[in-house]
C-alpha cells in the first residue's frame, strides 16, 4: 500500500510537532463554546501561509479532528455542546456527569471518537474513489429525505412524549425560518430589527443549552441548594473504560458505519451523523429507556459517528473538489492556498503531500485519544468549581462565543432570549434537544425541497423526482421504519408505565 511509504514523513520532528500542537489546540478550541471545528480551522488557515503545504495541511487536519472531539468535553462537563456535532453527546454525557461519572463519560467520548475517527480515516485511505462516486449519487431529493430521516429522531429525543418531542422539533424548524429565505430571498417572521439577520445556528445552540444551565446554577446558588460544587466526581481507571468500550462494540460499530456513510454526503456533516447514530442505537438497544438518563451507549454512539465523518467528508473533497462538510469546505481553501487542486493530480503530482496528510490524519486520531485523556484529567477540575463561578463563566463564554461568530450583538440578544424561552418551555416538556434538531434539519430539508421542486418541475414532475430512484426509496423506507418504530416504542413504553418492570442495565455491568 502506497500510504505506508508516507508514515515516516509524519514522524519528522517538525511535522510531528505541528501535529501534536494541532490536536491539542483543536481539542481546546473545540471544547470552547462557540468555536466550531469550521471556525477553528478557518482561524488557523492564515498560520499555514508560511508553513509549506505538508505541515500546513497536517495542522488543519489535526485541528479538524481535535475540534470535533473537543466539543464533547464541554457537552459532558458543562452541558454546553462545543459544536453542533456534539449535540447527541450531551443528551447522556452530562447526565453521566451529574451522577458523578464525568470521567467515565469523557473516557467513552474520547475512546469512541478515536475508534470512529480511525475507521473514518481508514475508509478514506482505502475507498476514496468509491466514496466519491457515492457522494455524487446524492442530489436534492436524497438530501431532503436524509433530513426527513433526521426529523423522525425528534419524537424520541429529550422528551417523555412523542407529541411534545415532535412539537419541539417543529418549533425549532419554524425558528430556523426567521430571516431571509435562502432560495427566494424573501424576509420571513422578522418582527423586530434584532431578527433581521435570522437566527444563527451556533448562537441558538449555545443559548438553548447554556442559558437554562446558567439560570439553574444561579437559582441553586441563591437557594444554597445541595452541594456548592457542580457535581460529585467518581474516579475512573482508563483500562476499565477501555474494557467497557469493548463490551459496547455493537454501538461503536453502528456509530462508526453511520458516520462513514453520512460523512460522505455533502451538506450532512457530523451533527446529522451523531443524531442519526444516537437514534438508531437507541432503537436497537435493550436499554432504550436508559437513553437520555446517562446511558454510556448514547455517548459512544454519538462520538463514534461524528468523528467517523471526518475522513469520509474529505474523500469527495480530495478526489472531486466537493466538500463533504462545512469544515471540509474551509479545508478546500487551505488546499487551494497551497497551490493544490483537488482531483487525480493530487494523488499523482502531489502524492507526497496528499498521502502524508492522510497518514497524519490517521496518527492524529491516536494522538487525540492520548492527549484528550490527559486533558480530561485536567478539565475534571470543572466539577469542583462552585456553582456561582461556573454559572457566570458559562454566561460570559456563551456571550463571547455567540458574538464572535458574526460580530453581531443581535445574535447575543437572540441567544439569551431563546435560552430563557426554553428554560420555561422545558418545564412543560418542550425541550431544547428536539428544538435544536429542528434548527439543524429544517434548513437542510427546506433548501433541498425547494431545489428538488425546481428540478422536478423542469423534468418529470415533482412527485416522480422525490419518490422514484433506488436511493430515494431506500431512504424513504428507512424513514417509514423509523416512524413506525418510534410509534411502536411509544405504545410499548405506555404499557410498561402501566405495568412497570425493571429495564435498567445491571449496574455492575455498566460501572464496574
Amino acid at each position: 500500500m502506497e500510504i505506508f511509504q508516507y508514515f515516516p514523513a509524519v514522524f519528522e520532528s517538525y511535522n510531528l510537532l505541528v501535529l501534536v500542537l494541532g490536536v491539542t489546540g483543536g481539542l481546546i478550541l473545540g471544547a470552547t463554546p462557540g468555536i466550531s471545528p469550521t471556525l477553528a480551522v478557518a482561524l488557523l488557515i492564515p498560520f499555514t501561509f508560511t508553513m509549506g503545504a505538508t505541515p500546513g495541511l497536517i495542522l488543519l487536519g489535526a485541528v479538524y479532528s481535535g475540534a470535533v472531539t473537543g466539543g464533547a468535553i464541554a457537552a459532558i462537563l458543562i452541558n454546553v455542546p462545543g459544536a453542533p456535532a456534539n449535540i447527541a453527546t450531551l443528551f447522556d454525557g452530562h447526565k453521566m456527569a451529574l451522577k458523578g461519572n464525568a470521567m467515565e463519560g469523557l473516557h467513552y467520548a474520547l475512546l469512541a471518537s478515536g475508534v470512529g475517527g480511525l475507521v473514518g480515516v481508514a475508509v478514506l485511505i482505502y475507498l476514496a474513489p468509491v466514496l466519491s462516486n457515492l457522494a455524487l449519487l446524492f442530489g436534492p431529493s436524497e438530501l431532503f429525505w436524509v433530513a426527513i430521516l433526521g426529523v423522525t429522531v425528534m419524537g424520541s429525543v429529550g422528551s417523555d412524549s412523542l407529541v411534545k418531542g415532535l412539537l419541539s422539533g417543529a418549533i425549532g424548524m419554524s425558528i430556523a425560518c426567521i430571516g431571509y429565505s435562502e432560495t427566494t430571498g424573501v424576509e420571513r417572521y422578522v418582527f423586530t430589527p434584532v431578527l433581521a439577520s435570522g437566527v444563527n445556528l451556533v448562537g441558538a445552540l449555545i443559548g438553548l443549552f447554556a442559558i437554562p444551565e446558567v439560570i439553574n446554577l444561579l437559582n441553586a446558588s441563591l437557594h444554597r441548594h445541595g452541594s456548592a460544587t457542580m457535581y460529585p466526581l467518581n474516579p475512573r481507571r482508563i483500562m476499565a473504560s477501555v474494557r467497557q468500550l469493548l463490551v459496547h462494540w455493537r454501538t461503536l460499530s453502528i456509530g462508526s458505519v453511520i458516520g462513514v456513510f453520512i460523512g460522505v454526503i455533502p451538506g450532512a456533516g457530523g451533527q446529522v451523523a451523531g443524531l442519526v447514530s444516537y437514534d438508531q442505537c437507541r432503537k436497537f438497544s435493550r436499554f432504550r429507556s436508559n437513553y437520555g438518563n446517562g446511558e454510556p451507549d448514547g455517548v459512544i454512539a454519538s462520538e463514534a459517528a461524528n468523528n467517523a465523518t471526518v475522513g469520509p467528508a474529505l474523500a469527495p473533497l480530495l478526489t472531486l473538489g466537493i466538500p463533504g462538510s462545512p469544515t471540509a469546505a474551509v479545508l478546500l481553501g487551505g488546499l487551494l492556498i497551497n497551490g493544490l487542486f483537488p482531483g487525480p493530480d493530487l494523488f499523482s503530482t502531489h502524492a507526497d503531500v496528499t498521502w502524508t496528510f492522510m497518514a497524519s490524519l490517521f496518527i492524529a486520531q491516536i494522538l487525540m485519544v492520548v492527549i484528550g485523556l490527559y486533558l480530561a484529567r485536567v478539565t475534571r477540575a470543572v466539577a469542583r468549581v462552585p456553582k456561582r463561578f461556573m454559572a457566570v463563566a458559562v454566561l460570559i463564554l456563551a456571550v463571547y462565543g455567540t458574538y464572535s461568530i458574526r460580530n453581531s450583538f443581535d445574535d447575543v440578544i437572540v441567544m439569551v432570549g431563546l435560552g430563557v424561552l426554553v428554560y420555561f418551555t422545558a418545564k412543560v416538556g418542550i425541550t431544547a434537544g428536539a428544538m435544536v434538531l429542528g434548527l439543524i434539519l429544517g434548513p437542510i430539508a427546506e433548501i433541498n425541497w425547494d431545489q428538488g421542486r425546481l428540478i422536478g418541475q423542469a423534468t418529470d414532475g415533482v412527485m416522480p423526482y422525490f419518490f422514484t430512484g433506488t436511493l430515494n426509496m431506500i431512504i424513504i423506507a428507512l424513514c417509514v421504519f423509523s416512524v413506525l418504530f418510534s410509534v411502536g416504542t411509544a405504545v410499548v413504553d405506555q404499557r410498561r408505565k402501566r405495568n412497570p418492570e425493571p429495564a435498567v442495565r445491571d449496574k455492575a455491568a455498566s460501572h464496574p
Binding site: 427566494t184 424573501v186 427546506e446
Partner: protein, 150 residues
Amino acid sequence: MKARKFLPPLIVLVISGALLVVGLTQPPEASSAYTYPNALAIVMAVLSVLWLAAELRTSGVVGVQGVQWRATLVSMAVMVFYLALIRLAGMLVASAVVYFGTAILFQAERVSARSVAMAAISTGVFILVIYLLFNRLLQLQSPGGFLGWY
C-alpha cells in the same frame, strides 16, 4: 387551577395560528417563500391540539411546574444587567464586573476580606484567560461599549 395545564398547548395553538395568518396574508410575490413555514405552522397546530387532547384525558394539574420564580427573576436580571453593561462599558469591563459581583452576591457564606480577595483573583485570572484566548490568540473582536472601553 386545573385549567393551568391547558395553558401551554393553548399558547402554542395561538402562536401557530398567528404564524399561519402571517404566512397567508403575504403578497403574491412572497407567498412561495411561506409554503414551508405555513406547512410547519399547520403541523404545530395539529400537534398542539393532540397535546391538548392528551391533557384532557389525564387527570391532575401539570402546568408550569418547578419554576422558582423569585430566583429565576433574579438570575434573569443578572443576565439583562450584563447585556446592558456590555453595551455601556464593553465586553471585558462588563464581564469583570458581573463575574466579581456574582461571586460575592451569590455566595452562601458571610462576605469576608478573604472571600473578596479570592473573588477578585478569580475574576482577574478568568478575564485574562478570556482576553488572551479570544482577543489576542484568535484575534476575535469583542463588543465594545459606548464609553469606548472593551
